[in-house]
């Protein structure tokens, strides 16, 4: 097994005039839990589909578990598992029947298939639901069934594409724990999401994708550190009226360094380039408009703030989302 479980060189996918994935160079080590983070349309799902050999690259190359995605797609498919919004199970079949079908398609020997199906049903607490139709299960159980199916043939690489969307918080946490456990057993996991909090909690490394490009790769700590030039001030200031908020925004924007002002649930969050006096300036602006201040804190940037800083700010993201939506 090569050290790099996934390796891409200049991987590019163009749909018409839209570059969904643009010159992607990426190395993911065996047993690593790698997060691909980015807004909708950033190219995460297209990257997963390229690596799963569901679609062919326009340019560039990639290997998955040592197999070239262009030259040996069948071998790639034998070594990967996919859980994706677009890749589903047969709703008119039971979980057991779905698993048995897939065990044949993955060429598992009959005895091995039988025991593996039972093992997975046990592992995911599907025993009582094994004979129920997939279509009759809740979203959470359907997701679990899809993960079961993806693990059936002991894949070396597992792609989990937006896997927690639609899951309740408990199921999402259980899934995150289970994924970490899989990585401990040597499975490489690619976890794509647009929820900024997820990769920060579970991923060994995170790649930030934006407009088809891999903007930055590193551990969550490294990414946050890379934007340590960022100052974040959080003020608890209840009952701030829209007019007061506008005045504060106007005052702070006149300082020129402010990149973001956000107010929700009585908390005003201001992020801008590092500035020693930011807390004082924010406090002064609030007091001048007659706002009350309960607490005021400076804090380290989160991965979300790092993401926004690395991708050029919220306005840039909005512009991209708009153009991606139009192009697609």
């Amino acid at each position: 097994m090569p050290d790099s479980s996934i390796s891409t060189q200049g991987l590019t996918k163009v749909f018409g005039h839209f570059r969904a994935v643009d010159t992607l160079n990426l190395d993911v080590k065996s047993g690593e839990l790698f997060g691909l983070l980015g807004p909708n349309g950033a190219g995460k799902t297209t990257t997963v589909r390229l690596l799963c050999t569901l679609i062919e690259p326009t340019m560039g190359s990639a290997t998955v578990a040592g197999f070239d995605i262009r030259k040996d797609p069948a071998a790639v498919r034998r070594t990967i598992g996919v859980v994706s919004e677009g890749v589903s199970l047969y709703k008119d079949l039971t979980i057991e029947e779905n698993l048995k079908l897939l065990s044949t398609l993955y060429d598992l020997p009959r005895n091995r298939a039988e025991s593996r199906v039972q093992e997975l049903l046990e592992m995911f607490a599907f025993r009582e639901k094994a004979k129920r139709l997939v279509g009759a299960l809740s979203t959470g159980w359907q997701k679990k069934a899809m993960i079961c199916a993806a693990l059936l043939h002991d894949p070396k690489v597992l792609f989990l594409d937006e896997v927690t969307s639609g899951l309740d918080p408990q199921s999402a946490i259980a899934l995150q724990d289970f994924t970490k456990h899989l990585c401990d057993q040597g499975v490489t996991v690619i976890w794509t999401t647009h929820y900024m909090g997820e990769p920060e909690k579970i991923c060994d490394r995170v790649g930030i994708m934006f407009a088809g490009r891999l903007v930055q790769v590193g551990t969550p700590g490294e990414l946050k550190h890379s934007v340590s030039e960022l100052s974040v001030v959080e003020v608890e200031t209840p009952d701030l009226s829209p007019m007061q908020l506008e005045k504060v925004k106007h005052r702070l924007s006149s300082m020129n360094q402010v990149c973001r002002v956000r107010y929700s649930e009585s908390k005003l969050q201001v992020s801008c380039e590092r500035k020693e006096t930011l807390a004082e300036e924010v406090a002064s602006a609030l007091l001048d408009v007659g706002a009350r201040i309960r607490t005021i804190n400076t804090k380290d940037p989160t991965l979300e703030e790092a993401f926004i800083a690395l991708t050029g700010g919220e306005e840039e993201i909005d512009r991209f989302m708009e153009s991606a939506g139009q192009t697609k």
Binding site: R49, C52, T53, L54, I55, E56, A74, R77, R78, I80, V82, S84, E85, G86, V87, S88, L89, Y90, K91, D92, L93, E97, L101, L102, T104, L105, Y106, D107, L133, A149
Partner: protein, 388 residues
């Protein structure tokens, strides 16, 4: 990939189709009840069927030449002339002149009773009558010969028919001209040639194109593509299961046509099944082509509607291919279903053996191969369009 693995994948896909089908009540209802029963019953009701007399030869003009002029030959003449199957049989006294009329379209057969006919019968020898037929109309001689053989053996087991064809066989329309000449067939025989093909076309297209678009929309197609299973195994597996359904449909249509509407197909079950499944295969190939073009489920229904209209307009179903002009005739000539209806008429109405329909069979098989090849190429090429 090994052959055994390919076969296992194909059978797994076919079994999967079966599992889904048996759980889908509306699919069972549409595929095995509504479509076969609706088409058969509506055509049966429209054309009437039960109780209509059956004879493919009744109105075919023939001559009877009695060279023996014996009691036995006279009894044979009376037997034939009074039968509903030889309603247009007339007596002639000049064998050569009658034979000379063959090919003129005035008569299509000459039945000659040779001298010594009664003598042979009286002495327990094998007697024979000679049948000259004009086979420029395909199927006519077969039909006359089989009907006549039936009669003479009932008349006397020691009697046989010696057939002599007077014209080289010519490939042309079958059945249609006979029908126009006024020959009557079993009540629902004509309807059966339509229903057998139309039901398979309607159901086969919906099952394949509709099924594939449903798989695509529900994400199960992408699931299959993410496994090592080759696209050929997916297509073949689905085809296998659909052939089973088509077989069941054939039996349902035949059962209702024969027992409900008095159809008496002039051929054997194997021939009917083979032709019906060939039509189904060609349609399935077309269905796979349509599915590779990323038709949605709703679009499949609309396309199917136009497909059926197209069939009725151009495949000789209502208007003979020969009567169409210009582009219409070109379309009819190219359309594989024209040959399917033609083959069904030749067999069901005229009793032609399956293997004599070389051109029709070749065209249908070739069309099936072409559709399947195109669909495999398209499904591979449009792989990413289909999962987006």
């Amino acid at each position: 990939m090994s052959l055994s693995s390919f076969i296992a994948d194909t059978l797994a896909i076919a079994a999967n189709e079966f599992r889904q089908f048996r759980r889908n009540r509306s699919a069972i209802l549409i595929s095995l009840v509504i479509l076969p029963l609706f088409f058969t019953a509506s055509l049966g009701a429209g054309r009437g069927g039960a109780g209509t007399s059956f004879s493919a030869t009744t109105d075919i003009p023939m001559a009877f030449v009695d060279n023996d002029l014996s009691v036995a030959s006279n009894r044979l003449w009376q037997t034939l002339a009074s039968s509903p199957d030889f309603h247009s049989l007339s007596q002639s006294y000049d064998e050569q002149q009658s034979i000379g009329l063959l090919g003129s379209k005035k008569i299509y057969a000459v039945i000659v009773v040779p001298k010594g006919f009664q003598n042979d019968l009286d002495n327990g020898f094998q007697a024979r009558i000679i049948l000259y037929t004009d086979d420029s109309e395909p199927g006519v001689s077969d039909q006359i010969q089989s009907t006549l053989t039936n009669y003479v053996q009932n008349f006397n087991p020691n009697l046989e028919v010696q057939p002599i064809l007077t014209q080289a066989e010519k490939q042309s329309i079958a059945g249609v001209e006979i029908i126009q000449k006024g020959a009557s067939f079993a009540g629902f025989n004509v309807g059966l040639t339509i229903v057998l093909a139309v039901v398979q076309i309607f159901a086969g297209f919906y099952e394949i194109a509709g099924g594939m678009s449903r798989e695509r929309e529900e994400g199960t197609y992408a699931r299959l593509l993410s496994t090592p299973v080759p696209i050929e195994a997916i297509v073949l597996g689905k085809t296998l299961f659909d052939l089973l359904l088509s077989t069941a449909r054939t039996f349902i249509v035949l059962g209702l046509a024969i027992y409900g509407y008095g159809a008496r197909p002039n051929t054997d079950l194997l021939t009917l099944l083979t032709l019906s499944l060939l039509v189904a295969l060609v349609t399935m190939g077309l269905g796979f082509v349509a599915s590779a073009l990323k038709l949605g489920q709703r679009a499949v229904v609309i396309v199917e509607f136009f497909l059926i209209l197209f069939l009725f307009a151009f495949s000789g179903l209502i208007i003979d291919k020969e009567l169409l002009v210009g582009v219409s005739q070109t379309i009819a000539t190219l359309l594989p279903f024209t040959y399917a209806f033609d083959a069904l008429r030749r067999t069901v109405l005229l009793g032609r053996p399956l293997l004599s329909l070389t051109w029709d069979l070749e065209y249908l098989i070739m069309s099936g191969i072409i559709f399947y090849t195109i669909s495999l190429v398209l499904l591979r090429e449009s792989r990413e369009r289909l999962i987006r």
